[in-house]
């Protein structure tokens, strides 16, 4: 007997929780080790006999002993865990915590858990660290979680304002366009959140919170849309064709690039424009809140792709080709629809007065220029040369997203 191992159950029955104490006392024991069991429950012997049999342990009831029973650990004790593997480490900052190719059979296990051998292999699509992981993800996730806001209270829904009818229509048209775009921006990360190996937990969480951000944007844009009007505005075939290429993108890197770096990057300029030019407080505030969230999405897209590009020298070329393919695929479409363009001009103008329209047009032209500048800046941060960045930015969809 090793160290006279002993467990005292008092009058506790195996059907009342004594099995927990027994298992605890048997943990780490080797085959042949013994455990003396003290206890006075009337069914202790009957139940111990059945319980030990099912576990592959032997039990005896020595007469004249102060123990009610002695368990002898069986040969298969803890065999279930013999080949269990630690699924990396819970702390992503520890060297080797994030596995380069986590086995699919680690499945949904918490990173760092001991996973029983023979667990089922999941069909995760994103299983390579180089393509899926970014060291920035834990920090960005924490930031995102801290920055969540309540649409019911964060926006001054009751603010007083009275807009010219045409300007209100323009706001409604812009909101209609935003909802459509943010729906694409919700579906893309949601899809990858569901296919990434959960070993890359923080990335999965970041994608999920990104989808939740977009859900909130869709809500506030829809609510602004309906503040003064019963129905949204127009949805064009060209706009949807552009967004469909994002929703259809099956490669994580390409989708992040087109959506986060280029699309949401351009949207950042648009939302700050709406914050500055919005004709009413509600429009300005929904745009500001959304812009803050989008800035995180862009930051993650950039961080993740910069890290991916360090490991994969062919990535930049592949992403460049993705922009070119998307451009070629969208050549037959109209790009940004007239309705949205005109609505932005009118929204910035604030009225139909000729001078106001001239000013609004200038500001929208400036916006388009700022979007291009922003895209080129981000492309350079991914390692593209000035010329490449200029060329690629010019190919970005005229739909902005």
């Amino acid at each position: 007997m090793t160290g006279g191992a002993r467990v005292a159950l008092g009058d506790l029955g195996l059907d009342e929780g004594a099995v927990v104490a027994l298992k605890h006392a048997l943990r780490g024991k080797q085959p042949g080790d013994t455990l003396a069991v003290e206890g006075s429950h009337p069914a202790l012997a009957v139940h111990l006999r059945a319980w030990c049999r099912a576990r592959g342990d032997a039990v005896s009831f020595p007469a004249g002993s102060d123990a009610a029973a002695v368990i002898t650990v069986g040969a298969s004790h803890e065999d279930r865990w013999r080949d269990a593997a630690r699924a990396g480490h819970a702390d992503p900052m520890i060297e080797g915590a994030i596995d380069a190719h986590p086995p699919r059979a680690w499945g949904l296990a918490a990173r760092g858990a001991a996973v029983e051998a023979g667990s089922p292999a999941f069909d995760f699509a994103l299983v390579d660290r180089d393509a899926a992981w970014s060291d920035e993800a834990p920090r960005l996730y924490a930031q995102a979680a801290a920055a969540q806001w309540d649409p019911a209270t964060a926006i001054p829904w009751g603010a007083e304002f009275a807009l010219d009818g045409a300007v209100e229509d323009a706001v409604v048209q812009v909101m209609t366009y935003l909802v459509e775009n943010e729906t694409a921006a919700l579906m893309v990360p949601a899809r990858f959140a569901a296919t990434i190996h959960p070993h890359f937990r923080e990335v999965m969480q970041l994608l999920a919170i990104q989808a939740a951000d977009e859900a909130r944007h869709i809500e506030v844009f829809s609510r602004r849309m309906r503040l003064r009007r019963d129905a949204p505005g127009l949805s064009t075939a060209g706009g949807q064709a552009s967004l469909k290429t994002l929703v259809d993108a099956s490669d994580f890197a390409e989708a992040s690039f087109l959506l986060s770096v280029l699309g949401e990057g351009s949207f950042l300029s648009l939302l700050w424009f709406l914050h500055a030019e919005g004709p009413d407080e509600v429009t300005r505030e929904v745009a500001r809140r959304a812009a803050q969230d989008e800035a995180r999405h862009v930051a993650f897209g950039l961080a993740h792709l910069a890290s991916h590009a360090r490991h994969d020298p062919t990535l930049r070329e592949r992403l460049g080709a993705a922009i070119e393919r998307r451009h070629a695929g969208l050549q037959h479409t109209a790009g940004l629809n007239d309705e949205v363009h005109d609505a932005l001009v009118l929204l910035a103008a604030g009225s139909m007065a000729p001078a106001a329209l001239r000013s609004g047009t200038e500001r929208v032209q400036r916006l388009v220029g700022e979007m291009d500048t922003g895209r080129r800046l981000r492309l350079r941060r991914l390692g593209y040369s000035d010329d490449e960045a200029r060329a690629l930015s010019a190919l970005h969809t005229r739909n902005f997203m």
Binding site: V46, R49, A54, A75, D79, A117
Partner: protein, 287 residues
């Protein structure tokens, strides 16, 4: 029968039986034993099929073992227990009463009602009733027997009969119920019986349960290969562990027949299998 294939006979007492033997089929084939199986709806059909040569090895209940052993002896053949689960050895059954019952001895069951499982269940009917009879109380004479005849022909493999007997005890419909020791524990843990609400009145002597049964002279070498592979299975092997968990064992043991003696006494007392054995022998004796 293709004599390079080891065919097993098993009784379909639950849909999981297909999962189990399909899994074993994959495992045995991966270990270069061509394994197949046939399912029967009752042990009686399986035993009859065994003597017609429909398969080589039977996965038998203890009662089916006795049936096979008796018929084989009458036909001048020899049956042998090839292997069994560790959990098939040294089971006991218990007779339980409600904790607040005035019954404190077997004798005090006289005139009362005892719930049992299926009529052909060794563990929930035959062995505990034999235990009471040996203590002087004749079933149906000295006390009433309430049978929970779920799936007769399955020899009590399905736990439903015992569960119904336990319910009957918990709800006060009967005075005592007969269960395997392990089921008394699991019913108390899963709430079928409220913990602490029942008391063990009596416990049978240890007995053995299922075994793989072969008839001497039927593909002996193949049976040896089958047994060797089975005994080599380890719970540590993740490829076979789910099957062992489904079958409820940690390791296979060589078959032994000493643990069937208590059941042999019970069926002798109640005449449980005599008619079946006679009928099967007569069928084989006919020209």
């Amino acid at each position: 029968m293709n004599n390079s294939t080891l065919t097993l006979g098993a009784v379909a007492y639950d849909p999981k039986v297909v999962t189990i033997w399909d899994g074993f089929q994959r495992w045995f084939r991966a270990h270069e034993l061509d394994f197949d199986y046939v399912l029967y709806t009752s042990y009686e059909r399986q035993v009859a099929g065994h003597f017609r040569g429909e398969f080589t090895v039977a996965w038998n209940s203890p009662l089916a073992w006795l049936q096979t052993e008796r018929v084989a002896a009458r036909l001048g053949r020899a049956a042998r227990a090839v292997a069994m689960r560790d959990t098939d050895q040294d089971l006991t059954s218990v007779v339980v009463v409600r904790a607040d019952s005035p019954v404190t001895s077997i004798e005090q069951l006289r005139g009362r009602t005892v719930a049992v499982g299926a009529a052909d269940s060794p563990q929930a009917t035959l062995l505990p009733l034999d235990h009471l009879a040996a203590a002087g109380l004749v079933p149906e004479v000295d006390f009433a027997v309430r049978r929970f005849d779920l799936l007769v022909g399955k020899h009590g493999d399905h736990v439903g009969g015992e569960r119904d007997a336990a319910y009957a005890l918990a709800t006060g419909a009967v005075d005592a119920a007969c269960l395997i020791d392990g089921n008394h524990l699991s019913f108390s843990r899963d709430g079928t019986l409220p913990p602490g609400a029942t008391r063990v009145l009596a416990q049978t002597a240890p007995y053995d349960h299922c075994c793989f049964t072969a008839l001497a002279g039927d593909d002996d070498a193949l049976v040896e290969r089958f047994a060797a592979l089975l005994l080599g299975q380890r719970h540590a092997d993740p490829a076979v562990r789910p099957l062992m968990d489904l079958e409820g064992l940690r390791e296979w043991r060589p078959g032994r027949t000493s643990g069937f003696a208590p059941l042999a006494r019970a069926v002798a007392r109640f005449g449980t299998i005599d008619a079946f054995v006679e009928e099967l022998v007569a069928g084989h004796a006919r020209p």
